[in-house]
C-alpha cells in the first residue's frame, strides 16, 4: 500500500480477503510472516492496537451502537474527559460537528445513529476513522447496502481522503466499483496472492479470469423460456406506508425482476406476498383462484417459496445438518403417523445434493461449515423440495462469489423452464438486466412501472426508481416541491465563488 492510494482487493468468496484484512487490523494473528506499516514491522494483537497505530477497518456489518448519538459513537472508547471521569460533552459535540461538516453530512451530532440511513451510518464510521487519525482505512464491502446516490457520496469522500494522503483498502464484489475508485488492484484466490496490477490495465473480463482462474464465457447465462400462463396475481396490496396499491402478476417460466433503491419497499413487498408480515389489504390469486395468505405457513402450502436476503439469519439452521435443512419444509410429507421416515428423508436430500452439486462432505455436515454459495444452494434445495409454483429470490447472489453466482443463475433458468414463476429482487442492476424477462420497478412503496427485457436499461430503471421520491412528495405537498424545484440545486451553489 502506498500513501494516498486506493487499493482494491478482490477475489471470490473464501479467497482470503477478509482473513487477510483481519490479520492486518489485529483481529486474527498471523501464523507466520511479517506486516510492515510505515516502514516498521508490526504485529497487532488486537484491533485496538491497530487503531492506535492508524489502521481503521469499516466492516460490512457496521459496528455502531444504534441507541447512541453520532457523537457517542465517534468517541466510543476514547471519550474526551475532564479529570478521568467527567465527559466533556460540548467539546465532543463540537468536534463531531466539524468532522461531519468535513464529510458534507448535514446532521446534528446528537442524532441517534439508529435514526440514520445506512449510507449516513457509513459516513459516521468514516468520521470515526478520521477522528482516529487513520492513515489506512480498510473498507470491507462498504457499498453492499447503499443506494447509488450514497455510493457516489462515499466515493467522493474516498477521493478526498486520498488527497489528504490517507490510504484506503477497498474490498468489494462489485467490479464496476473497483474500476471506478481504485488505483491498483490485488487479486486473491484460495488464500494466495495472484497478481497486483494498476487498475487501468485491467478490464472486467480479465479481472474475473484472474479471480476464478478460468474463463467465464458470460456472467449471466440467461435462457429465455417461453412465458406460460399467469400463476400468481396480487391485487390491491397495501401495508401502512411501506406498500401501497400493489398490483401485478407473475407468469410461469418468467423471471420477474424487482428493482428499486434501498428502502423502496422491495423486500417488504415479497415478505408481504409470502405472509411474513401482516398486511392491511390485498388479494392473492393462484392459477386464477383466490387464496388466503395470513402466514408463511399458508404461503408454503400454496407453493410459494422465499429465499431471504439474509441467509444466515432467516433461511438456514446453522447448527443443523444439510439433510435437516433441506427437508425442513416438507417434513409433514415425510412423516407417517408420528414417525419421520429417515430413509425417504435421506433419499430426498441426496437427490438435491446431487442435482444441485452441493459441495458437502455428507448429509450430516452442519450448515455452519459450508461456504456462502453452498449454503444458498441448501436453502434453495429446501424450497425446491416443496415443489413451488412461485419462487421468490431476495438478493439471491449477495455475498456469493462469481462462480457460484453463475450456478445460481443456471438453476433459475432450469426452474423457469420447468414452469416455475420466479420473482427476483436485486440491488444489482446488471443482475436485474441480465436475468429478468420483465422488470418491475418499485419506489416509495409503489410500483412505478414495468419494463420488458428488450426495453430495460440501467437508465430507464433508475429513471423510474428515482423520479418517484419527488412524485411521492408531490402527492402530499405539491407546493413544497414547486418551491424546491425553483431553487438553485446544490451544484449550482457550488459553482459560485464561496468565501
Amino acid at each position: 500500500m502506498r500513501p494516498g492510494e486506493v487499493h482494491a482487493l478482490v477475489g471470490e468468496n473464501g479467497a482470503g480477503k477478509s482473513t487477510l484484512m483481519k490479520i492486518v487490523s489485529g483481529v486474527y494473528q498471523a501464523d507466520a510472516g511479517e506486516i510492515s506499516f510505515k516502514g516498521q514491522p508490526v504485529a497487532f494483537r488486537n484491533p485496538r492496537q491497530a487503531q492506535d497505530a492508524g489502521i481503521v477497518t469499516i466492516y460490512q456489518e457496521l459496528n455502531l451502537v444504534p441507541y447512541q448519538s453520532i457523537t457517542e459513537n465517534i468517541f466510543l472508547g476514547s471519550e474526551l474527559t475532564r479529570g478521568r471521569v467527567a465527559l466533556r460533552w460540548s467539546d465532543m459535540h463540537q468536534q463531531a460537528r466539524e468532522l461531519l461538516a468535513k464529510l458534507h453530512l448535514n446532521v446534528d451530532p446528537r442524532t441517534l445513529v439508529g435514526e440514520l440511513g445506512v449510507g449516513k451510518q457509513q459516513m459516521v464510521e468514516v468520521a470515526k476513522a478520521i477522528y482516529h487519525k487513520a492513515d489506512l482505512i480498510i473498507m470491507d464491502e462498504p457499498t453492499s447496502s447503499l443506494s447509488i446516490r450514497e455510493i457516489n457520496d462515499l466515493f467522493d469522500i474516498v477521493r478526498e481522503l486520498k488527497e489528504q494522503g490517507v490510504s484506503v483498502t477497498y474490498i468489494s464484489h462489485h467490479l464496476e466499483e473497483v474500476f471506478q475508485i481504485s488505483d491498483r488492484t490485488t487479486v486473491l484466490r484460495d488464500g494466495q496472492l495472484i497478481k497486483t496490477l494498476p487498475t487501468p490495465q485491467l478490464n472486467v473480463d480479465s479481472l474475473i479470469r484472474l479471480m476464478v482462474g478460468r474463463d467465464l464465457s458470460e456472467q449471466f447465462p440467461k435462457e429465455v423460456a417461453p412465458r406460460g400462463k399467469e400463476v400468481l396475481r396480487v391485487e390491491d396490496l397495501n401495508r401502512g406506508m411501506t406498500l401501497r396499491d400493489i398490483n401485478f402478476s407473475a407468469y410461469a417460466g418468467e423471471v420477474l425482476g424487482v428493482a428499486g433503491l434501498v428502502g423502496a419497499g422491495r423486500t417488504e413487498l415479497v415478505r408481504a406476498i409470502f405472509g411474513a408480515d401482516r398486511i392491511d389489504s390485498g388479494r392473492f390469486y393462484l392459477d386464477g383462484e383466490q387464496i388466503t395468505i395470513k402466514s408463511s405457513r399458508d404461503a408454503v402450502h400454496h407453493g410459494i417459496g422465499l429465499l431471504t436476503e439474509d441467509r444466515k439469519r432467516q433461511g438456514l439452521f446453522l447448527q443443523m445438518n444439510v439433510r435437516e435443512n433441506i427437508t425442513m419444509s416438507v417434513l409433514e410429507r415425510l412423516t407417517r403417523g408420528m414417525v419421520t421416515n429417515r430413509k425417504r428423508e435421506a433419499t430426498l436430500s441426496q437427490e438435491y445434493i446431487d442435482s444441485l452439486a452441493i459441495k458437502t462432505s455428507g448429509q450430516d455436515q452442519l450448515a455452519i461449515n459450508l461456504s456462502g454459495g453452498t449454503q444458498q444452494k441448501v436453502v434453495l434445495s429446501k424450497w425446491l423440495a416443496t415443489e413451488p409454483r412461485v419462487l421468490i429470490f431476495d438478493e439471491p447472489t449477495r455475498g456469493i462469489d462469481v462462480g457460484a453466482k453463475v450456478e445460481i443463475y443456471r438453476m433459475m433458468n432450469d426452474l423457469a423452464r420447468q414452469g416455475v414463476a420466479i420473482i427476483m429482487v436485486s440491488s444489482e442492476l446488471p443482475e436485474i438486466l441480465g436475468m429478468s424477462d420483465r422488470v418491475m420497478v418499485v419506489a416509495g412503496g409503489r410500483i412505478r412501472g414495468f419494463l420488458d427485457r428488450a426495453e430495460a436499461s440501467e437508465e430507464r430503471i433508475m429513471e423510474l426508481a428515482t423520479a418517484t421520491d419527488r412524485q411521492t412528495i408531490a402527492e402530499v405537498l405539491p407546493d413544497l416541491v414547486e418551491e424546491r424545484s425553483s431553487r438553485p440545486t446544490a451544484e449550482q451553489f457550488n459553482d459560485k465563488p464561496s468565501n
Binding site: I23, A30, L306, L316, M328, T335, T340, N369, S371
Partner: protein, 353 residues
C-alpha cells in the same frame, strides 16, 4: 505470511472429522465425569458399594430427572422454564388435597378422590398451566424468563395459601403405592419412579429424534425466524413445549408427593436450578438448538451423585447449597467454552466464508 487458507474449503474437508470429534467430546464428556465420580465414590465410601444405595440414588434421580426432561425441551427452543419447582410443589399439593379430601393438614388420611383421578387432575393442570404460559410467551411475545418466574411465584403462592404452609399428609392407595414402589430384579431393587423416568426419557428421545415436532424444536432453537419462514407453526410448537414442561414437572411433583406421602409447598425446592444445571451439564446449549435428552439424564445423575457423595463423605448438609451453586456456574462455563464463545481462549471456530 502463510496460508490464510479459505475457510470454506477447510471446513468442507475437515468438517466431517471435526464434527465427529466435537460431538464425541460433548457426548462423552459428561459421561466420563459421571463414571469418574462413581468410581471415586466407590473407592472412598463404604456404603456406596451397596446396591441398595444405588436404588436410593435411582429414586433420587427419578423426580428431578423427569422435571429436567421437560426443561430440556424448553431450553432446546432457547427458552427457559423457571416455574418447574413451583409446579412440582403445586401439583403435589393439588393431588394431595384431592386425595385427602381436605386442605387442612392433619394425620394421614384419604377421604377424597381415588389417587388415580387426583393424579390425572394434577397432570392435566400442569399441562394446562404450562400451555397457558407458552401462549403468553408466544402470542404476546413476552419474555419466558419473566413469565415463568411470575408463574413460579403464583404457583408457590397458591400452594402456600391452600395448605397454609403445612404439608397435607395422605394415605397411599393401590395405584399410588404402585407407582412409588419398588420392583425387585433378583436382588436388585429398582424403584418404579426410576422406571417411569426411563420411560419418559425414551419417549422424549423418540419425539426429539424421530418426529417432526422434535425437528421443529431444534429448528426453533437454532433459528426461530428461519423456522417461521419455512412454514413451521412456531407458536404452536413453542406453546406445546411449555405444556410438556408443565406436564413433566407435575409428574415429578406426583413422584415427590407420593414418596413423602405429603403435599407441601416445599416439595420442589431447588429443582429449577438443578434442572437447568442438569440440562446444561448434559450438553444442551442455553442459546438453543444444540443438545439432547440423554445428556440431561447424565447431568441429573452427576448432580445427584455429587449430592449423595457429600452425604456419604460426611460433608455437613448445610454446605450442600454451595456445592450445587458451584456446579451450576461451572456448567454454564462449560456451555460457553463448548460453544467457543470466549475469544481469548482461541477455541473459536472460524465462521464459514
Amino acid at each position: 505470511m502463510t496460508n490464510p487458507a479459505t475457510d470454506s474449503t477447510q471446513a468442507a474437508q475437515g468438517g466431517g472429522a471435526g464434527n465427529f470429534a466435537r460431538r464425541f467430546v460433548s457426548n462423552t464428556g459428561p459421561l466420563l465425569i459421571l463414571v469418574v465420580l462413581w468410581i471415586l465414590l466407590m473407592i472412598l465410601s463404604e456404603p456406596f458399594r451397596n446396591p441398595t444405595t444405588w436404588g436410593l440414588l435411582a429414586l433420587e434421580v427419578a423426580a428431578i430427572g423427569v422435571v429436567s426432561a421437560g426443561q430440556t425441551f424448553v431450553i432446546l427452543t432457547a427458552g427457559i422454564d423457571l416455574s418447574v419447582e413451583a409446579m412440582v410443589s403445586f401439583a403435589g399439593v393439588l393431588a394431595a388435597i384431592l386425595i385427602a379430601g381436605t386442605s387442612i393438614a392433619g394425620g394421614q388420611i384419604a377421604n377424597g378422590l381415588p389417587s388415580i383421578i387426583a393424579i390425572g387432575v394434577a397432570l392435566a393442570a400442569g399441562a394446562g398451566i404450562g400451555m397457558f404460559q407458552g401462549m403468553l410467551i408466544t402470542l404476546f411475545r413476552m419474555n419466558p424468563l419473566i413469565v415463568t418466574l411470575g408463574f413460579r411465584s403464583i404457583l408457590l403462592g397458591v400452594a402456600l395459601v391452600w395448605t397454609r404452609g403445612a404439608g397435607i399428609n395422605i394415605l397411599k392407595d393401590g395405584p399410588l403405592s404402585a407407582i412409588t414402589g419398588v420392583i425387585r430384579v433378583g436382588t436388585f431393587p429398582i424403584p418404579v419412579p426410576f422406571l417411569i423416568a426411563i420411560v419418559v426419557y425414551f419417549a422424549s428421545w423418540f419425539v426429539l429424534k424421530h418426529t417432526k415436532f422434535g425437528r421443529y424444536t431444534y429448528a426453533i432453537g437454532g433459528n426461530e425466524t428461519a423456522a417461521r419462514l419455512s412454514g413451521i407453526r412456531v407458536d404452536l410448537v413453542k406453546a406445546t413445549i411449555y405444556a410438556i414442561s408443565g406436564f413433566l414437572a407435575a409428574l415429578g411433583g406426583i413422584m415427590v408427593m407420593g414418596r413423602l406421602q405429603s403435599g407441601a409447598y416445599q416439595n420442589g425446592t431447588n429443582m429449577t436450578l438443578a434442572s437447568v444445571a442438569a440440562v446444561v451439564i448434559g450438553g444442551t446449549s442455553l442459546s438453543g438448538g444444540i443438545g439432547g435428552i440423554w445428556g440431561t439424564l447424565i447431568g441429573v445423575a452427576i448432580i445427584r451423585i455429587v449430592e449423595a457423595g457429600l452425604v456419604y463423605l460426611d460433608v455437613p448438609s448445610t454446605a450442600k447449597e454451595i456445592v450445587i451453586g458451584v456446579i451450576i456456574v461451572l456448567a454454564v462455563l462449560l456451555d460457553v467454552i463448548r460453544r467457543g464463545e470466549i475469544p481469548w481462549l482461541h477455541l473459536r471456530r472460524k465462521p464459514a466464508a
